[in-house]
C-alpha cells in the first residue's frame, strides 16, 4: 500500500466521522440559552377539563375529620 492510498483512506474515514457531527444527526439541540427550556412545547388543558378537575377535587373532601 503506497502513501497515496493511505492518504485517500485516511481522508475518507475523517470525512465519515465529520458527517456524524451534523446537527440533524442528533436529537438534542446544539445551541441553547441558559435557563430556557428548548424542548417540545406541551399541550395546555382546556377550560372544560379545568372545571372538571375542580369539581373532581371535592371527592377528596370525603369522610369525617
Amino acid at each position: 500500500m503506497n502513501m497515496r492510498t493511505i492518504r485517500f483512506f485516511s481522508l475518507a474515514i475523517l470525512l465519515g466521522l465529520l458527517a456524524g457531527c451534523q446537527e440533524r444527526e442528533s436529537e438534542n439541540p446544539f445551541l441553547k440559552e441558559k435557563g430556557v427550556y428548548s424542548g417540545k412545547p406541551d399541550e395546555t388543558l382546556n377550560d372544560d377539563t379545568r372545571e372538571q378537575l375542580r369539581r373532581r377535587m371535592n371527592i377528596q373532601r370525603g369522610g369525617s375529620i
Partner: protein
C-alpha cells in the same frame, strides 16, 4: 385555577402503601423506580407518623434551577415536568431535590444511569396527550382526561390530597379546625414558600 399541589395529612396516613402501588400500576413504572413512597418517622414509637412523598411540583423548583440541559418546564397548572429527550441522566436534580423525587433506572450492567423519571402529577409529558409515546415515556396523562392523580383519588383515608392548591388548602383547613390540631402540612413550606404551611 390556582396551581396544582399535593398535601399529605400525616394524621390520616395509615402507611398502607396503596398510593405507591397505584402509581406503579397506573404508569407501569419499571423495576427499581418508585415515583412515590411512604416514609414513616418514629416507627413503632409514640408519635409515629407516616407521610406519602413524591415530587411536590415546587413553585420555585430546585431541579429546574440546576438542570444543565434545561429539560424541565412548568405547565400552566404549575406542574413541574421534564423532557426525556433532553435529559442526559446527570443526576443534578436528584441532589437538588429536597424530597428525593428524581429516580434513575439502571440501564447497563455496570450501574449506568438512564433518563430521569419522576412523578408527573399524572400529567404525562411534552408528547401528544394520551399517545402511546407519552405513555411509554412518562406514564398516563390523567389530567388531560379531567382526572386528578390516582394516588390521591384512591387514597382510602383521604390523607393524600392533590389538586387546585386553594381547594387543597381549604380541605386541610377545615380538617384542622374540626379536629383542633394539624400536623403542619409536611413539605408545604419547602415546596410552596409563601403559601403558608
Amino acid at each position: 385555577m390556582a396551581r396544582m399541589k399535593f398535601l399529605c395529612d400525616a394524621e390520616r396516613c395509615i402507611e398502607c402503601n396503596a398510593c405507591v402501588t397505584a402509581c406503579k400500576n397506573e404508569h407501569e413504572v419499571p423495576w427499581g423506580v418508585n415515583r412515590r413512597r411512604v416514609v414513616t418517622i418514629n416507627d413503632g414509637k409514640p408519635g409515629e407518623r407516616s407521610i406519602s412523598v413524591a415530587c411536590m411540583h415546587c413553585s420555585d423548583a430546585p431541579c429546574m434551577a440546576v438542570c444543565p440541559v434545561d429539560c424541565f418546564y412548568q405547565s400552566a397548572e404549575g406542574v413541574v415536568l421534564h423532557n426525556k429527550d433532553l435529559c442526559i441522566g446527570c443526576g443534578y436534580c436528584f441532589y437538588a431535590c429536597p424530597f428525593g423525587a428524581p429516580q434513575f433506572p439502571q440501564v447497563g450492567n455496570f450501574g449506568s444511569r438512564g433518563k430521569m423519571d419522576k412523578c408527573t402529577f399524572c400529567a404525562g409529558g411534552p408528547e401528544e396527550a394520551n399517545s402511546d409515546t407519552e405513555f411509554k415515556k412518562y406514564g398516563r396523562n390523567r389530567l388531560a382526561e379531567g382526572k386528578l392523580p390516582l394516588c390521591a383519588e384512591m387514597c382510602a383515608t383521604k390523607a393524600l390530597l392533590a389538586g387546585d392548591g386553594d381547594q387543597v388548602a381549604n380541605i386541610y383547613r377545615e380538617r384542622v379546625v374540626g379536629r383542633g390540631f394539624g400536623s403542619g402540612a409536611w413539605g408545604w413550606g419547602k415546596a410552596y414558600p409563601g403559601s403558608g404551611s
